[in-house]
């Protein structure tokens, strides 16, 4: 059954795009037909997938982006979203657009209320996602930092919202606010079940990462804004940055080099959360009740080793 996964966090630089791309590529590698929808105006995922092609070939220069589709809807036309997808890579791409924010601004000005603008964008996006659900096993939405109408729509429709999180003080504080935004502003149902935090850029050089990783796990049990947590983590590692700079014509193992097994392990855990393979995310079974309790229980976190 087709699933939509939104990678979202109001905070920038937490690795949303790297995580979205790695899991999308691993899922395609493991046999799922996968579409990545880039909703970020920085279009980093699109650039990574479109590769080092000359300018004219880039989707955002040939009118084949999510904004171009929405622009048609704005004018009252109803093209098939499938025509806007680039299929040259293992992961198919509905490219982002650097000017998507201006489009959203236009919709906001055009409508009476913010909710009406949200509804417009949401129903257009629903058409994209419904069509995509018919043709893809997995639809990955890479959202921008902060809040945007498109990101909200993707989050609302997502079967799973993956929140990449750096284990540090500021990120940990922002997480509760973000969960609150899901629940109170977006009025999402079943937030606890749909939200899964992924601890990213785990820095083994200090105790800070372990301390705050445990805090994230502990807070996941708070009754007000509960969420689930991936057992797998990505460590801060050069290979992740390098992977964003490698041609996608190369094989999966070459792109993700020394971290390919970590990417596959994390992706398999994503599949568990999606119900594609047996068992739920292992983190749900744990009952961490304080900083360091994971280690105390003898359970070893799956953190990538070496740099």
């Amino acid at each position: 059954m087709s699933k939509i996964v939104a990678f979202a966090n109001a905070k920038g630089g937490v690795g949303k795009t790297t995580l979205a791309l790695s899991m999308a590529e691993a899922s395609a590698y493991l046999g799922k037909t996968t579409l990545l929808i880039d909703l970020d105006l920085q279009i980093n995922a699109s650039i990574t997938l479109a590769g080092d092609c000359i300018d004219d070939m880039l989707p955002w220069r040939r009118g084949q982006t999510i904004e171009d589709y929405l622009e048609e809807r704005w004018h009252g036309r109803v093209p098939t979203p499938l025509n806007y997808i680039d299929r040259s890579q293992r992961v198919h791409l509905l490219s982002g657009s650097p000017s998507i924010t201006f489009f959203e601004r236009r919709v906001l000005v055009w409508r009476d209320t913010v909710f009406e603008a949200r509804n417009c964008v949401n129903f257009w996006m629903l058409d994209v996602l419904r069509t995509a659900r018919q043709h893809y096993d997995l639809i990955v939405c890479d959202t921008p930092p902060g809040l945007s109408l498109l990101a909200e729509s993707a989050i609302k429709s997502a079967d799973l919202i993956v929140v990449p999180q750096i284990p540090d003080r500021l990120s940990t504080q922002g997480l509760q606010r973000y969960a609150k935004y899901f629940q109170e502003d977006l009025e999402l149902s079943d937030v606890a079940h749909r939200t899964v935090v992924f601890i990213n850029m785990f820095d083994v050089r200090t105790d800070v990462a372990e301390t705050y990783a445990e805090a994230i796990r502990r807070e996941s049990k708070l009754p007000i804004f509960p969420y689930r947590v991936f057992e797998n983590q990505y460590k801060a590692k050069v290979a992740f940055k390098e992977a964003m700079d490698i041609s996608r014509t190369k094989r999966f193992e070459e792109v993700w080099s020394s971290v390919d097994s970590d990417v596959l392990a994390a992706t398999r855990e994503l599949w568990k959360f999606l119900g594609w393979i047996e068992g739920e995310g292992a983190a749900n079974e744990t009952g961490t009740s304080g900083i360091g309790s994971g280690a105390a229980s003898g359970r070893k976190r799956k953190v990538t080793s070496g740099t």
Binding site: T33, R62, N83, D112, R130, K156
Partner: protein, 254 residues
């Protein structure tokens, strides 16, 4: 009952559109208090996929079903295969026909079985796919038109090969899609059909079960033909719908 459910109950059951103002007024009356525009729009937001929203005319209606046409679960006619085969083409064709992959690949898929003139027996394939691909050292985008002729087991004979071949008048690659479950009586025709198809450069895809992508097997890759550009233009103008034609023009002439 939550307010959004009250609103949903007020919408016409048949899925007819009503105006936002009418819905707003009716809801205010039902709840016995004035509803603001923002409150009304918020309730529409909460209803999500249960309603459809036309932003231009500010109309709202109940969303019937998923809003996505369901593909037939039983396969009895060629028509039952079309939707499944179209889905297969959208999902898998890029990998099947373009290896190694180009720098970019954009495709439109058109059901041409029932679009345009119906005169002439072999004038139109069941499905067509137009692809624009780009390469590092090609100065212009490459354009390929694929045709697909679908046949049920009963139609697996030499005539089917020639019917697919006739489409090369306008298509660069002509394919024959054979719904031929294992153990079919017509399997005995396959060797001679493949021989003829190879001779003419027609590609053959065998379909074990249209609903199961794993059962689609490329038996023979089509050879590229050189139809006249005028024929291709004429074919696309006549058989492709406007949205697909516009998309192609945009990609070719940007």
């Amino acid at each position: 009952m939550p307010e959004q459910d009250v609103l949903y109950e007020l919408l016409p059951a048949e899925g007819d559109w009503i105006s936002r103002d009418a819905g707003w007024t009716a809801l205010s009356e039902r709840l016995g208090r004035e509803i603001s525009a923002e409150d009304f729009d918020r309730l529409i937001w909460l209803l999500g996929e249960r309603v459809a929203w036309n932003p231009h005319d500010r109309l709202v209606c109940r969303q019937l079903g998923t809003g996505v046409p369901q593909l037939p679960s039983t396969i009895e006619t060629e028509r039952d295969i079309e939707g499944w085969f179209e889905r297969f083409v959208w999902k898998r064709a890029a990998r099947m026909f373009y290896e190694p992959p180009p720098l970019s690949l954009s495709i439109v898929v058109q059901n041409t079985a029932r679009v345009g003139s119906s005169s002439g027996r072999w004038t139109r394939p069941d499905l067509s796919m137009a692809c624009i691909s780009r390469y590092h050292y090609a100065p212009v985008p490459s354009f390929d038109l694929f045709s697909f002729e679908l046949k049920m087991a009963a139609g697996c004979n030499m005539l089917a090969v020639h019917e697919a071949l006739s489409h090369t008048a306008a298509a660069h690659f002509a394919y024959l899609g054979l719904y031929l479950p294992k153990g079919s009586r017509e399997e005995m025709n396959l060797p001679s059909m493949l021989e003829q198809a190879q001779h003419h450069g027609v590609g053959v895809i065998r379909i074990g079960d249209p609903r199961d992508e794993a059962s689609y097997t490329l038996l023979l890759a089509a050879q590229r033909q050189s139809p006249s550009p005028a024929k291709i233009d004429g074919f696309i103008e006549e058989r492709f719908d406007e949205a697909n034609r516009l998309a192609l023009r945009k990609w070719v002439h940007r």
